[in-house]
Amino acid sequence: MDQLLINSGFPLLSVLIFLPLAGALVLLFVKNESLCRYLALAATGVVGLLSLRLVTGFDTTTDKFQFVEHHSWIETFNINYTIGVDGISILLILLTTIIMPFCVLASWSYIKTRVQAFMVCLLIMETAMIGVFVALDFVLFYVLWEAMLIPMYLLIGIWGGPRKIYASIKFFLYTLAGSILLLVGIIWLYTTNNYSFFIPDMMWQDYPLTAQVYLFLAFFLAFAIKVPMFPFHTWLPAAHVEAPTAGSVILASILLKMGTYGFLRFALPITPEATLLLGPYVLWLSIAGIIYGGFTALAQSDMKKLIAYSSVGHMGFVTLGIFVLNVDGLEGAILQMVNHGITTGALFLCVGMIYERTHSRELRSATGVGKYMPIYITFLAFFCLSSFGFPGTNSFVGEFMILAGAFQFGIANGGFPYLALAAIPGAVLAAAYMLRMLQKIVWGGTDNPDQSWITDLNSREIVTLAPFLFFVFWIGLGPQPFLDLIHTSVTQLLHHFDAHQAQQAVAAAGAIVH
């Protein structure tokens, strides 16, 4: 267990995981709706504040797991409650804990029925999501991975739009289908690794290539559906469109990152050879997703669908960055996961705010509100600019690093950067669909509906959006503190990767000599 770096003392991660759950239990006994809202806000807020301790206590010089807790759980099968944080997961945990209070705020007046149950779902969701990012035991991971489905299913199925049942079942089935093969893979790994579910022990082992390929495909199906990568994305627009605002925000900001997190945590270290073998196909699939997502987003008249398809394109950039397998690409990918969480989350909040006023997600019914909602469009404009990677905003930095990684990949592998150039139309399309949406909402055309009755944002809504804007510019103009957190883990991951390759090459050469 040399990967562990146990921080003795306060079990911070457990508190982060179980505090929302405790909050959910308390909420079960609260009848007053208003009190429910305040309690949920308090629980998520405290978790958000406590999670800042992760940053101050995090050692950026090591790639080992930190804040580790280890307790025996089901001894018969050697299943443990082992949790920890490294550079790959820390930003995603923070993203989760910081976004959740704003999901509660965004539901303040949006959710009018069964407020208590809604808040309980949100809190259970938070427990499961934090758990997935910190789990170091594969069973623990899998349990929480599946556990996320239930509150999300309920969030869409109960508080969703007109086609909520269709959307929630589609979401449930897709994700479940993806993870069944994952379970088979986990069991194979368990039997191969001396009946241990401890994830770090499974990494960088010399599994036979055939086994690696099967494992990789199992991982790929589970995670590609979650990301979602083209062509496994069709559940996403349905789920986004029907979900309530908070549900869309959680989906876009956090759930989608589970897939790319899975690639980084499992696919790369457990199946390195298969990653090298199949990575190029994933790269071109990412390009397909970037282009497809862009064109489809351009054609949407429903604002939520537009942002949903834009997510397919943006997450294509993330998988592109992961599988070019160099420092710029990987760091850019992790940063871009955070950026997408911030920006797309904020865009869904913005659409939700329009929806609360006009009760329509159609772009046509929101045209020309700019004149009457100056504060709103100021926020919206910055988030749209951020979404298509305007320089000075967060997404630009991520996109820049990913594309720099892709260019390096091209130049290193034969000279001409075809791959990176193929991704460029995606960046152009992003500008096109985002500016189109922004233009329609702010200006419209000569036949706008009468919007003079519409009211600008209230102070609760401003408070909800302001932190997102803060992060848009902080990461956009000073990303170094964020990159410092992930740098060591990424370089070590690549170092392991190269070392493993070298070792394999030596072994192969030895085999030939014999």
């Binding site: 960046a427 000073g478 990159l483």
Partner: protein, 487 residues
């Protein structure tokens, strides 16, 4: 750390905020615009002595990644553009007060705020120390000028503005973004070189990649109006005339050519361009734009459209001069940033004055108007002489240097392009003046109600026109910056 740079950048930004929050009172609002423009001019002016002594002022703001930062710098090349942008903003602010009030335009607060914000972008471009900073402000200019082009909010305005934003953002994303990232991957930094010769590319970089990057940069800065990505400029003429004047004769298009020439000289460098033989083909390529845009201008009856195509043609002079890669060529190109700005803004101001006074947009309607609007058409005549390149007006200095440059580069073809374009310039400008002063009013259309433009417009016109003449007679003040660039 030179705080003057930061102050210069912040003045238009603070001006914008002031305009937005004091928008309900038009006197205070326009007072803020005027005061900011004058302050900016003073701050830029205060940097002149240091730069003339050969100093480079630098102000680092944000570090994004190692080698990628938002940093401001003022050297002689930035001063050329900064002086032009700040002084013409001052003049244009006063002019637009007269124009917008004269026509009782709507949404004047938005107009003034976006106007100031565009200058913020232009000043940022002028003072960029690296490609990233330049790209940042270049994109800010694109976005902030959209509301100005769409100002009238009618179908024509929306169409023009849509074309405008699609051309500018698409080319920037499709060409500049990959070029910038590839330059970063190849060199590890986006900073400009410290002189025009060395460039930033280390030995051993593939020539094919560098040529590709160069082409990307020429087309990526589509604000430079080089064909085939020039079409946004005539489309943007639906904007109110002060916008066409300041932005589409000066700030926006000069941002384009400034960026293009800055990258040609300070990223690629004359040595690399010589080595890969990029200069002369570029000169001929933009020579095509020079000639074709002039021919299109000949066919336009709409006065602003003719001026717009004239701008497309004249912008390519600047790139052509620099692409000759000889000292007089580079000097002639860069000085044309100044000369064209003052003369073309005069012409647009006149077009606006004619519209406010008579509501006439077409050249064929101008017969005999010169007698009722002698000052406006007098200024128009002088400024068009500058466009043609006749002494002693500013444009002559450009033509003179470009001709020497083409001879020194042994390019007879370029020489012929220059001569042909001069004839074309005369062919499309001279008839306007002729019609105004010597044409006959059509029968049955009396002069009732048409009189000389109001003083608030006439004074800026006369100032801009006078400067056009002065920098023709005394070119040394601006030439010293240009000569410092070539060293």
């Amino acid at each position: 750390m030179d705080y003057k740079l930061l102050i210069a950048l912040l003045i238009p930004l603070i001006g914008t905020l002031g305009v937005m929050f004091k928008g309900d009172n038009e006197n205070i609002r326009e007072g803020i615009s005027s005061v900011s423009s004058i302050l900016l001019l003073l701050v830029v002016g205060s940097m002149i002595p240091a730069v003339l002594q050969g100093k480079t002022l630098v102000f680092p703001m944000f570090t994004i990644l190692p080698g990628v930062s938002v940093t401001l710098r003022a050297d002689s090349m930035s001063m050329i553009f900064a002086i032009v942008a700040s002084s013409l903003w001052t003049i244009a602010v006063f002019y637009s007060m007269g124009y917008m009030r004269g026509l009782k335009e709507h949404a004047q607060t938005r107009f003034n705020a976006c106007f100031a914000l565009s200058i913020f972008g232009a000043i940022g471009v002028a003072f960029s120390d690296n490609l990233f900073t330049m790209y940042l402000f270049y994109e800010i200019v694109s976005v902030c000028t959209y509301p100005l082009v769409a100002h009238h909010q009618d179908a024509e305005g929306y169409n023009g503005a849509r074309k405008y934003i699609i051309y500018l953002t698409t080319t920037a994303k499709a060409f500049l973004l990959p070029a910038m990232i590839l330059i970063y991957v190849l060199t590890g930094t986006l900073d400009f070189a410290s002189n025009i010769h060395d460039g930033v590319f280390p030995e051993g970089v593939s020539g094919t990649l560098v040529i590709m990057l160069y082409i990307f940069c020429i087309f990526g800065f589509a604000k430079n109006g080089v064909m085939p990505f020039h079409h946004w400029l005539p489309g943007a003429m639906v904007a109110p005339t002060p916008v066409s004047a300041l932005l589409h004769a000066v700030a926006v298009v000069k941002v384009g050519v400034f960026c293009t020439t800055r990258v040609m000289l300070y990223t690629f460098g004359t040595d690399t361009m010589h080595a890969l033989n990029l200069g002369i083909p570029t000169a001929y390529f933009v020579g095509f734009t020079v000639i074709v845009a002039s021919i299109i201008a000949l066919s336009k009856d709409n006065l602003k459209a003719r001026l717009a195509y004239s701008t497309v043609s004249q912008l390519s002079y600047i790139i052509m001069g620099v692409a000759l890669l000889t000292d007089p060529g580079i000097q002639g190109g860069l000085i044309h940033i100044v000369n064209h700005a003052f003369s073309k803004i005069t012409l647009f101001f006149c077009a606006g004055a004619i519209y406010v006074a008579s509501h006439k947009k077409y050249i064929s309607e101008l017969d005999g108007l010169g007698k009722t609007m002698p000052f406006t058409f007098g200024a128009f005549a002088i400024a068009s002489l500058s466009m043609i390149g006749a002494p002693p007006v500013a444009g002559f200095i450009t033509k003179w240097n470009l001709l020497i440059g083409s001879v020194e580069a042994h390019q007879l073809g370029i020489l012929l392009i220059l001569i042909a374009s001069t004839l074309l310039n005369a062919a499309y400008f001279a008839p306007i003046t002729y019609r105004a002063f010597f044409g006959k009013r059509p029968v049955g259309e009396p002069f009732t109600g048409i009189k000389e433009a109001p003083l608030s417009m006439l004074i800026p016109i006369l100032i801009a026109c006078t400067i056009s003449v002065l920098i023709g007679i005394f070119p040394d003040f601006m030439l010293q910056f240009v000569k410092a660039v070539t060293g």
